[in-house]
Amino acid sequence: MPVIEAENVSYSYNGGAGFDIFRVKKMNFSIEKNQIIGVIGHTGSGKSTLAQLLNGLIKPTEGKILLNGKNLWEDFSNIREVHFKVGLTFQYPEHQLFKDTVYDDIAFGPINQGLSKQEVNTRVLNAAEFAGISKDILQRSPFDLSGGEKRRTAIAGIIAIDPEVLILDEPTSGLDPIGRREILESIYNYHNKKKNVIIFISHIMEDIAEMCDKVMVLDKGNLEMFDTPMKVFSNSSILSNLGLEVPQITRIMKIVHQRTHTSDETIIKIDDAIRNIIKILDMKRM
């Protein structure tokens, strides 16, 4: 059974003069368990709106979203539970840090879930470990930390509620390349251990290609494509019409292949490129 499904989901608001402005238009998809789903799209394509719909922060104006087969909005009083099952980190989640210590900030979610002190403690320590936060900073003020540490603290706060689905809205923007890699590795390890669904919104096509099992391509509120990264990034002309691009490695390998007439394979990961180049060189020596 799919973990999350969207059936004809639209979200619009009244733009005045009787016109409705659509942020999300008639989307249909289903996400199976244990997958990392990438979401890409131009600014204003509806990525963040979709994230908020999935987490029950806003209600679809049409259609329904099913979590484990059950409509999110079937029972309005139950929507708080949905926030705990579908965790969402906003862009720049560190702007929402507010407690005196890193520990208290991570503990905020589990405490509000009504867990015992001991359970809260276990959750906090586990979440901190997943997010790569060292024990010695748990008692420091979150405002004294570096950008990368703040980001990890904020992400740990969501991991601590132990969500079935974790939505990360541009988790690496503004981080240096090392910080970026560390966050991605933590997310990947967390996913491998938890086997939960992760929805990963990013503008960095290289990260989407390396991380994701499937990719959603959004444009003006429409779901244009929902396929494997390989299929999505084979369509470079469609992507560029949508203001997006393919990973750098895909671009490089495509031109090299064309010029040398060696292969027509789409390459989306660095390691595949290396294997491909070695294969081309060896093949010719034989």
């Binding site: 799209g41 131009h42 600014t43 204003g44 862009q91 720049y92 570096s146 950008g147 990368g148 540490e149 541009e170 923007s173 503004g174 981080l175 240096d176 390349p177 090392i178 910080g179 970026r180 503008h203 096509m205 290289e206 203001g243 997006l244 691009e245 990973p247 750098q248 490695i249 671009r251 490089i252 031109i255 090299v256 010029r259 040398t260 060696t262 660095i270 390691d271 490129a273 290396i274 180049i277 070695i278 081309i280 060189l281 010719k284 020596r285």
Partner: protein
Amino acid sequence: MFGIDKLISVKNVSFSAYSEEKGEKQRFILKNINLEIAKGEFVAILGKNGSGKSTLVKHFNGILLPSEGKVLVNGIDTKDEDKLCEIRQKVGMVFQNPDNQIISAIVEEDVAFGPENLGLDREEIIRRVESALKAVGMYDLRKHSTDMLSGGQKQRVAIAGVFAMLPSCIVLDEPTSMLDPQGRKEVINTLVKLNKESGTTIVLITHNTDELVYADRIIAMEAGSIFKDTSLKEIILNIEYSKALGLNSSQCLDLIYKLKGKGIDIPITIDENECINNLAKMIEEDKMCR
């Protein structure tokens, strides 16, 4: 007298922040920085999160004042409160988040905010707004509502707002990190244009390796100090520096290093086309040897 080409001069600057009440120990965010930036330069500053990049550039127009040492802008000490307006007019800032920097509902009104506050004549304000909007390629959208713009467009409006003050220097703290690929290109092309055509000094903080290509000079920071002050070429040719600084975000560079690791020798570059040429050449030559 002070040399005319030195726009910003940082002399022995240290900066520390700590709370005595909480009994914290003094921690230095910047340690003994010496730096000069000349008119017309395009300087990129890079380094890890927490290395002091943002703290350093906030000294360039007196948002922060040094705990030790001094910063001169056009020969004026940033500690001179009476001259602060003059300094901020010379050195303008653009920040990361496009939404935090737009204050008016209409594009041209937003750009006019700075010049209005300089107390200029109406005609002069109109002239400056017009030329600033043309410089960033937003003139056609001058009557548009600011909240309908894309991130890249908003950043360009923010740049126009600074440019309308006729600054000698624009400092940008990761202006592209919240933008999509197209928005990133728009902003960077605008900066290159302002630098080349108007001679505006650009100081750009960035993590994006692609954007470093345009800089004449790279200042690499680590733990509050300047680690390297050099050209891009020198930095990327040295694998240790770039790895250490977390500069290596380009797949092009990653590919080259990994091929080298497999014993395939190929020249180091971050220029995509050069990398393609080198790879194609290598495969062709291999064909010939066969």
